[in-house]
Symmetry: C2
Subunit: 267 residues, 2 copies
């Protein structure tokens, strides 16, 4: 059972991992930053508890402990119980979700780890917006995509905002970094995946027609620039979502959702 | 040709329609508020110029006037030219898009207006988040949906944030308010539309199977509560997007995109 420890002094060093989140979390990837993973709110904390990210501590109001009691029944982790006011002083802003969990980063998964048994994966290039990244993981989880691979220039999926927008699904949908870009796409192809580049180019093949593989890897670039020509050249086919003329390309998470949907639409 | 008028004094009454936007715009639907429609940035201003929302004035830096010169060539509308600093003082915050256009609200379209010639429409209930509303219009435009109808308890699609997130497509995808909810759904049915309720309920029919009409109206509720039972009962069929167990329902704009995509996927 999680041990409840009351915190009345906001400067208590036992809650240092939760301190001043809006600053400490800004660039968790920089040297000297802790890069801890933060879950906010009951649902996301529950998903963290059910993931490979094992929380080292929780900080929350008493009411949230009651809600989480069953989830924490067999966990040996401290629950720092505080008032909403003390929590706000620790965290640095008022947090209306009432509970946080913090976890260290476990060892990264390898490309082989995440491709094992996968049928549908997304491969991202230049997706550097945390909100788009979070939405993409949420859509991947919802529509049954199995994994996400990062190519070049992507943002950190474990950034606090990405975790929140994903509703905790970045903690559960496995992801890995491709070692070389775009050369490592061969690793994916050699595992039997059809490599499909998504592009708004009207000359590309219709997505529904292009997607013929039993195992499929969907390459997506950032909104605006899209995939680099170099990356597209390393794929098997360039596919487009049928779009109306005179509109912008879809948001990258929405485009991914469409492709994931195409995989499961008759399920 | 638009007339260029230099504004050096931020208190100049000629730019009153652009004043203190973050406050004046908060509830444009309240009595006493102006409820003017604001377009921000070159692309959205161009879409406004190409819409039924005729701008009464523009406010922007000199550089943006040059970019818009062709679009404004045959328009009789003042372009208030100001420095970024003066603009910020008028608007109340720093605006990095450099140009705004303001338009009065034209007469509302009727349900008949927007259904005329339409094949695919979305009907919303309880969608009161401006960002979701904006994304929904962006997706409707991108994927060729023809119109949006508002049922009960929806937010104002012409709110500044909704216009911005839609990338100006709320100004171009026609919309109308249904007079009674859900009784007015009969108006839509009588025009030959199949009424499809989207629900995460696993007992519902698969969307791809359910969607059989030549003309289709997709009902969507807010994230979380979804459609009311009353609204669902007034439809022809309840349809689900195939979702993984243990995940949340999709964001409403993403769910709509999926349904719009289903209509055009082989186009």
């Amino acid at each position: 059972m999680a041990e409840v420890i009351d915190i009345e002094d906001p400067t208590d060093p036992r809650v240092d991992d939760f301190r001043d989140l809006s600053n400490a979390d800004r660039r968790p990837d920089l040297p000297g930053r802790k890069g801890l993973v933060i879950a906010e709110g009951v649902v996301v904390v529950q998903r963290m508890l059910d993931s490979r990210f094992a929380p080292s501590a929780l900080l929350g109001v008493g009411k949230r402990f009651e809600t989480l009691a069953d989830d924490l029944a067999d966990r040996d982790v401290p629950y720092y119980r505080a008032s909403a006011e003390v929590m706000a002083q620790v965290v640095g802003f008022h947090l209306n979700r009432g509970v946080l969990a913090v976890a260290p980063r476990p060892a990264e998964l390898t490309v082989d780890d995440v491709l094992d048994g996968a049928r549908t994966v997304a491969i991202l290039e230049g997706v550097n917006d945390h909100e788009n990244l979070g939405s993409m993981f949420r859509n991947a989880a919802g529509l049954g995509a199995d994994a996400v691979l990062f190519g070049d220039r992507c943002a950190d999926p474990l950034y606090r905002r990405a975790v929140r927008v994903s509703m905790g699904h970045v903690l559960r949908v496995p992801f890995a970094q491709l070692p070389q870009w775009p050369a490592s796409l061969d690793l994916v192809r050699n595992r039997g995946f059809q490599l499909i580049a998504l592009t708004p180019n009207p000359a590309a093949v219709n997505l529904a027609t292009a997607m013929t593989g039993e195992r499929v890897a969907l390459l997506l670039g950032a909104e605006g620039p899209g995939l680099t020509e170099e990356a597209m050249r390393a794929t098997d086919v360039r596919a487009r979502i049928p779009m109306s003329p005179g509109t912008d390309s879809l948001n990258v998470a929405t485009a991914a959702a469409m492709a994931f949907y195409e995989r499961v639409r008759t399920a």
